[in-house]
């Protein structure tokens, strides 16, 4: 199993470690619920060094990526980012990722840990077939980089103390809190340079930092120190999963795979039909125009029950109940105190307020389709 540069730090903090996508990662330090609520109410820091980074540079980098990804990179100013998807010819999702324009013709892609090899081999073969391949340099820099996510409403109270210097690249802000959502800046941090972006996977305000692997431990320790007075806690993948499920961010391998399209997953907003041809476009355009046969819905258990889990059957409610789908993500919601989940069902069952049932160990428990996100910051005063 692979280990991140923060492995020793996790051990020292008493983390419980699990296997995730080939990596030995902390699932929790104290308790998933405590860590989850720390992020909702104060702040948390996550090791996300397992995630992959790809650098794409050159005069034709934008054209290459725009033919490979579903969103429109033409919309990105220098120092701006977007959520996007990489699809196969059938419109199936190879990966979901974040694309950052770090320079006029320089891009940084942050990809899923479990997909680094698949993504890179796909990008490689696309690159080999690209007319202007000599004007695009593609590099897998995953092993050279570490990353942390710092998330929660109190993060803005201490993140500016990381550096007193203004940005030296990306969005030219004088301090991190001047970044708007989906903006990225390059910062000088003592002897190292880092990227800091106002992005995340929790539904809270926050930042993600990408730094050379040998500097990420210093960043981690520094942030832990700066954030502690504000209630910052180290958080594991357990809380990362419950946080993203509450806000209905898909997880590759659970909610997305090569047999599922972004339109079916409800991610049509990130598929731009107003740009040049890209892989999967004909299928996705057709689905946008004519509809889909399955849709990713969010649901809440209607009463107290065991938490729904991935692969539990979903059935229609009532006397003629029949299996209509499967749970793809499910957990107990620490914020709401009830079971929640995501799953694919035929479109006629996808409307909010539709009653469904989740089969939990042979017994069916009532649930209701709800609008996404299941939880949002405004919901709880």
């Amino acid at each position: 199993m692979k280990r991140t540069p923060l492995y020793a730090a996790h051990q020292k903090l008493g983390a419980k470690l699990i296997e995730f996508g080939g990596w030995e990662m902390p699932v929790q330090y104290t308790s998933i619920t405590d860590e989850h609520l720390a992020v909702r109410k104060a702040a948390g820091i996550f090791d996300i060094s397992h995630m992959g980074e790809v650098s794409v540079c050159g005069a034709k980098a934008e054209a290459f990526l725009n033919q490979t990804l579903t969103n429109d990179l033409g919309k990105l100013a220098i120092g701006a980012a977007q959520y996007t998807l990489m699809c196969n010819e059938q419109g199936g999702v190879i990966d979901d990722l974040y694309a950052y324009r770090t320079g006029a013709s320089e891009f940084l892609l942050i990809i899923n840990a479990s997909r680094i090899e698949s993504d890179f081999s796909w990008l490689h073969s696309r690159h080999a077939a690209f007319d202007h391949r000599n004007d695009v340099i593609l590099k897998n820099i995953s092993d050279a980089m570490g990353a942390v996510a710092i998330q929660g409403p109190r993060v803005v109270d201490f993140i500016d103390n990381l550096s007193s210097q203004p940005a030296i690249g990306g969005t030219m802000v004088s301090r991190p809190t001047q970044l708007k959502k989906n903006q990225i800046a390059r910062l000088q941090l003592s002897i190292t340079e880092i990227w800091i972006a106002r992005t995340g996977y929790t539904g809270e305000d926050g930042f993600e930092i990408v730094a050379p692997a040998d500097s990420i431990k210093a960043v981690w320790n520094n942030v832990l120190e700066l954030g502690r007075p504000f209630g910052l806690k180290p958080c594991g993948l357990g809380a990362r999963d419950t946080l993203r499920t509450e806000v209905c961010y898909p997880l590759y391998g659970n909610d997305l795979d090569e047999e599922t399209t972004p339109i079916e997953a409800g991610l049509g907003f990130f598929v731009s039909l107003n740009k040049e041809e890209f892989v999967g476009r004909p299928v996705l355009a057709n689905q946008k125009a004519n509809g889909v046969t399955k849709k990713l819905v969010a649901f809440k258990m209607s009463e107290k029950s065991a938490p729904p889990r991935p692969h539990y059957p979903i059935s229609s409610a009532g006397p003629k109940a029949a299996k209509i789908g499967e749970v793809t993500s499910g957990t107990q919601s620490p914020s709401l105190g009830i079971g929640i989940g995501l799953g694919y069902v035929p479109p006629e069952f996808a409307k909010p307020q539709t009653l469904i049932e989740i089969e939990i160990r042979g017994k069916r428990a009532p649930a209701i389709v709800v609008p996404k996100p299941i939880y949002s910051r405004q919901l709880i005063v």
Partner: protein, 128 residues
């Protein structure tokens, strides 16, 4: 370190048994609740159910996973703890007292002798 009361017997699968005559109370250990953390749901055996030792008879759900609980002894269930169903966090806060799972009338009281004593259980969990 885990709390391991001296007056209880233990199963390798982390259940405890408190024996009183031919009646026994069953729950899960402090070590087990600590490993599970954040217990959010408990499903107990039905009242009057006949259990054999080693039967999967209850389920404990944490945020992350569902875990089966195995009956350490054989017999008939005489009482289940409704309080722990209503408030699963009792498993975390009071594993040996208010967080008990069920009471059982022993059909084979000598089974208790083959369970672990506190020192043996301690040795097992410290061996990982």
């Amino acid at each position: 370190m885990s709390n391991i009361p001296a007056d209880l017997k233990y199963a390798k699968s982390h259940e405890w048994v408190r024996v009183s005559g031919d009646l026994a109370t069953v729950g899960i250990t402090d070590h087990a609740q600590h490993e599970l953390t954040d217990v959010v749901f408990v499903e107990l055996p039905e009242l009057h159910k006949q259990l054999k030792s080693g039967d999967a008879c209850a389920v404990v759900e944490s945020v992350k996973t569902a875990s089966d609980i195995y009956s350490p002894v054989s017999g008939q269930v005489t009482e289940v703890n409704k309080a722990v169903v209503d408030n699963p966090a009792l498993v975390n806060t009071s594993p040996y007292e208010s967080g008990w799972f069920y009471k059982i009338k022993l059909s084979n009281p000598s089974e208790v002798n083959s369970l672990l004593g506190p020192d043996q259980y301690k040795a097992q969990i410290s061996a990982g």
